[in-house]
Symmetry: none
Subunit: 265 residues, 2 copies
DNA sequence: TGCCTTTATGCACGTTTGTGCCGATTGATA
DNA sequence: TATCAATCGGCACAAACGTGCATAAAGGCA
């Protein structure tokens, strides 16, 4: 699809437009890679990135550039937080996702990171109730996207009401990637909103496997509304520096615990 | 490939029309190539490109020109194009949207611009089948968002299939903001995809009013699939430099034509 | 027909833009 | 702290650009 083995010479605007595509697609670009890809000097790429950054179309960083997040709402606010940690979790999570699967992506900034981290060639059917995740999935060519509609809860950032619950009931995913506000061995997986819990439980119960990727700050805490018990969770992805006893505790409950790699991009 | 071995001399309008074809076909044109192909000086080509750009029919860039809205591309690709023009259209469009309304936002990069241009305080119920637009609407606090779900067509960038059609049928919006690939007084409003046309027609028929905002390059052109006739369109927003007879033509068909302000923010 | 205006085109000129290269500076990492 | 890569600013050069002018063809009007 984007294979540019033969290099026609590109106009400046075309090149910059392609850089933006790469940004959206892979979440970051490196100056040196782009230079090689477009067959121009690194200086030229740096100038491009500087211009794009000046126009507010990307964020300039040492070595390349990152996409600028359209910050504002509650979900999008969370997106910008602890990005390296989430990226590390996401990298581990995509290891569980195989071509051919039907996967449900629940609303969560970590799950958005997972969607963005999906490898380019992967083929799967992805369902989600979260517009932001759907938008991210659209950047990956091989993915069949099913959007669960309904009234959007702006705190959660997704459709979770009666209509959404009715529609999602027809779904029997191979894997359900849940977001959580708290994970505790006794309380199980918990969230802040009643209806959100309801929705998540419904999807989880209909899924062959349930995966949750959580940052350290959520481990051992619980929110008001229970989604599923600990043992209903198939796989739990935690950070590399999660409390030492985490693996033991959850493993004995039958949960497969995966430690994400170091946060070293 | 497009071998013009025999060089008949072309009239100016013919040449410019052919340039537009090349643009649509290959996504870009180079001044030097066109000069050689049409057997005229580069100066002449540059003049042509300048005129086309002034009429909003292409985007002038150093070395040649780019199409203002290429067909067969995904929604996210279209978003970055002709942004000032779309912003100007959007600014006019928001004038039609009043607090308290129920508005449907159809899939289109111009409509995304409209969603983004909504004033901060506005209160309305917005429905959309487009994740990208839903995400943009989430940035505005006073808006009630209804997401239409279903299988996502990645070219259109929205849910337009059977499921989406069934769900949208319950909707009776005060205003429907349609996207279009072509607008012609005889052909009406047209798009590239069959199912997309079907979906749009359904929404438009159930809406009290229909609005379409189009860039110059779409005026007077038509795509394969008809959505609605010209007279079914309530309001048409065109650019300030749209062909002079536009207002007359569509007004006599009963369409309210609004000229957007100059593209000078 | 003769004259004038308009329009399309090419040419010459000076100007702007895109790019690569070099040297100095800054930032990351150990 | 030292080291090395990335970055920035300036410079140079070529290509692309816009403008003004000249020319020629087309068309209007008396």
């Amino acid at each position: 699809m984007i294979g540019f083995s033969v290099q026609t010479e590109l106009l400046l605007k075309q090149r910059q437009s392609l850089i933006q595509d790469r940004l959206r697609l892979s979440g970051r670009v490196l100056a040196i890679d782009l230079a090689q890809e477009f067959n121009v000097s690194e200086d030229t790429i740096r100038r491009d990135l500087r211009e794009l950054a000046a126009a507010g179309l990307c964020e300039r960083v040492y070595g390349g550039a990152l996409p600028v997040s359209p910050g504002g709402t509650t979900l999008t606010q969370r997106v910008g937080l602890a990005t390296e940690r989430k990226a590390a979790l996401a990298a581990s999570a995509v290891g569980v996702i195989k071509s051919g699967m039907t996967v449900f992506f629940d609303a969560s900034s970590t799950n958005l990171a997972i969607a963005q981290a999906l490898p380019a060639g992967i083929e799967l059917t992805a369902a989600t109730n979260t517009p932001l995740i759907a938008a991210a999935l659209m950047e990956k060519p091989g993915i069949n996207i099913i959007l669960i509609g309904g009234k959007i809860d702006r705190l959660v950032g997704a459709a979770i009401g009666a209509k959404a619950q009715r529609d999602v009931e027809a779904l029997r995913p191979d894997l359900c990637i849940l977001g959580a506000c708290g994970v505790d061995i006794n309380a199980g997986l918990t969230v802040f909103e009643y209806e959100d819990a309801e929705f998540k439980r419904l999807v989880a119960r209909n899924s062959a496997a349930v995966l949750a990727a959580v940052t350290n700050d959520k481990l051992g805490t619980s929110a008001p509304h229970a989604v599923i018990t600990t043992r209903e969770c198939t796989t739990l992805i935690v950070e590399h520096d999660a409390p030492a006893d985490t693996a033991d505790i959850y493993s004995t409950a039958g949960v497969a615990v995966v430690h994400a790699g170091e946060t070293r991009p």
